[in-house]
């Protein structure tokens, strides 16, 4: 009656379901909340939920990276900009074009839901050592062998972005007068 494996599985499923639902609700919060600060906070909680989901789907390295990169850096930047530019509440108004677009999105959503009913994908067997699946080591081994080109391209992209940001954001105020 009480099989330990079943209970464990059930618990895991419950956790995944709850976290997933929270993630969806948080994302709803992002688009429905009128104050940008709260939007950002909802997005942060969404990111954290996703990180937990990553952890539950055996991607512990990516979960940590998700928190470090998204929650630790990207969202801080968002908050920084909000503080700098002001987080004025915005008035929502739904124009005709917008409603059309939203309707289109909902159609898309329906289609995607339909596609979810397609049967499960088959596992690829025996390629990965399950011991280290999802750890930094596994990711590293994979990244530096099979996906080296993508990795290099990504690093080049980062470099370009860094240069671009400096060019963009370095507004030319008069050089600081050292009295």
């Amino acid at each position: 009656m009480f099989d330990l494996a079943t209970v464990f599985e059930f618990t895991r499923d419950t956790v995944i379901f709850t976290v997933g639902l929270t993630a969806v609700l948080a994302s709803l919060g992002v688009i429905l909340c009128s104050s940008p600060i709260y939007c950002a906070l909802y997005l942060i909680s969404h990111m954290i939920c996703l990180a937990l989901l990553f952890l539950l789907y055996n991607a512990e390295f990516l979960a940590v990276v998700q928190i470090i990169v998204y929650a630790g850096a990207v969202m801080i930047l968002f908050l920084f900009i909000i503080a700098l530019l002001g987080g004025k509440k915005e008035v929502q108004e739904l124009t005709f074009e917008r409603s059309i677009a939203v309707a289109f999105i909902f159609t898309l959503l329906g289609e995607l839901y339909l596609s979810a009913t397609v049967g499960p994908t088959k596992q690829i067997e025996g390629k990965i050592n399950p011991e280290i699946f999802g750890t930094a080591k596994a990711i590293g081994l994979e990244l530096y062998s099979k996906h080296l080109v993508a990795f290099e391209l990504a690093s080049a992209l980062l470099l370009v972005a860094a240069v671009g940001v400096i060019c963009l954001a370095k507004f030319s105020f008069a050089p600081l007068k050292r009295r």
């Binding site: 909000i82 530019l85 987080g87 004025k88 600081l176 007068k177 050292r178 009295r179």
Partner: protein, 399 residues
């Protein structure tokens, strides 16, 4: 609209208005400055004073000359003997009296001790403003000794009222002179200690060098005085140029620096502490004897021991206490070199025992517009350093 909604960059302009003071940890009293900021950079600074206005100038017009002296203590409360001296010198000039040598020597010792104490307070609070907490307490340790000496000779730690018209209030005691000797032997090592903590410290240099600098012309034009002026390369010390109280007899150097930035003001003041110590040493080496106040009983109270024996002394005592000194009609101004710069009282007398007008030339008051000029284009952290480096005392700014 709340700050968060409005953001650091305000809607209608590119800047943010930041109100600093009057209750701010580093405005040295109740000084308020309204900063227009672009991010962390100050665009304009607008000072606002008057929070400590006590109306001492007006009150002085209704007090006898002798009674003004305790009030001058409360103007620049870090350098009370300097204020006493400035007031007494102006009054004495109107009276046209000569001060005995011993009184002059004691006055010089008190003023130089007060200068050291004032600079110690300045160094401590200035370093605290820049973030070095410990220097503050080291400076207080040494200042405490000076205050103990004040207490020994005048009876009070800060508001000494020691210098009086015609001389000083009481004669020096043996233990006080010994205490000063101990102090001037102990003090140089401590100045070296502050310098070891700060002068070459890269963070300190970074926070002070090249910040809030005024050229020689600017400094003169904005009427800075004292160490702030000398840091800009102006060799002007009233102790040298218009000597008073026998400063011409002592051998000392006027430290001058050329960049006029916070660091140079720091160096000037540190060096001034050493010079003040040397002046005190010279005074002690040949401390003249004789009376410590003007023997003329029209000006200073007769000696206490004569009150029981001499009827004449008693009558003079009664007359002087109940009527005070009558000062001839006229107006005068005698500047002295206070700890913060030129201090002087412009006194207009109408021939009675009450001054008709007393006006303090307060170095801090004169320096405030220039100080706010220096702040433009600096970081907010430098604002704190600049206020500290000018060393304003709100007691004499608002009067």
């Amino acid at each position: 609209m709340s700050v968060t909604e409005q953001g650091l960059l305000e809607r209608d302009k590119d800047t943010m208005t930041l109100n600093m003071g009057p209750q701010h940890p580093s405005t040295h009293g109740v000084f308020r400055v309204i900063l227009e900021m672009d991010g962390e950079v100050v665009k304009t600074a607008e000072p606002e004073i008057g929070y400590l206005h006590t109306g001492i100038e007006k009150t002085s017009e209704n007090k006898r000359y002798v009674h003004v002296i305790p009030m001058t203590d409360r103007l620049d409360y870090l350098n009370p003997p300097g204020n006493n001296l400035a007031f007494c010198l102006s009054t004495e000039k109107l009276l046209g009296i000569e001060i005995p040598d011993r009184a002059n020597a004691l006055r010089v010792i008190m003023c130089e001790l007060a200068r050291i104490a004032s600079h110690l307070v300045w160094l401590g609070t200035h370093a605290l403003d820049i973030g070095a907490m410990t220097v503050f307490l080291y400076c207080w340790r040494e200042r405490e000794m000076i205050l103990d000496l004040n207490e020994e000779i005048s009876g009070v730690r800060m508001m000494t009222s020691y210098i009086r018209v015609g001389g000083v209030a009481k004669d020096a005691t043996r233990s006080w002179l010994d205490g000063i000797l101990d102090f001037i032997q102990y003090f140089p090592a401590k100045v070296d200690e502050y310098e070891r903590l700060l002068t070459k410290n890269p963070i300190w240099l970074d926070r002070t060098q090249g910040i809030g600098s005024f050229t020689r012309e600017e400094a003169i034009n904005w009427s800075l005085s004292g160490p702030a002026l000398r840091a800009s390369g102006v060799n002007w010390d009233i102790r040298k140029s218009q000597p008073y109280s026998g400063y011409e007899n002592y051998n000392f150097e006027v430290p001058v620096q050329n960049n006029g930035d916070i660091f140079d003001r720091y160096r000037v003041r540190i060096e001034e502490m050493r010079q003040s110590r040397s002046i005190i040493q010279q005074v002690l080496e040949n401390l003249p004897g004789g009376p410590y106040k003007d023997p003329d009983n029209k000006v200073s109270l007769p000696a206490r021991e004569t009150l029981h024996t001499s009827m004449e002394a008693l009558i003079h005592h009664f007359k002087l206490v109940s009527e005070g000194i009558s000062v001839p009609k006229g107006e005068t101004y005698v500047p002295i070199e206070g700890a913060r710069g030129e201090v002087g009282f412009y006194i207009v007398s109408d021939g009675t025992n009450v001054p008709s007008r007393v006006k303090l030339r307060a170095p801090s008051f004169m320096a405030i517009p220039g100080m706010c000029k220096m702040m433009e284009g600096c970081y907010i952290a430098d604002v704190v350093g600049i206020i500290g480096s000018i060393d304003i005392v709100m007691g004499e700014v608002d009067r």
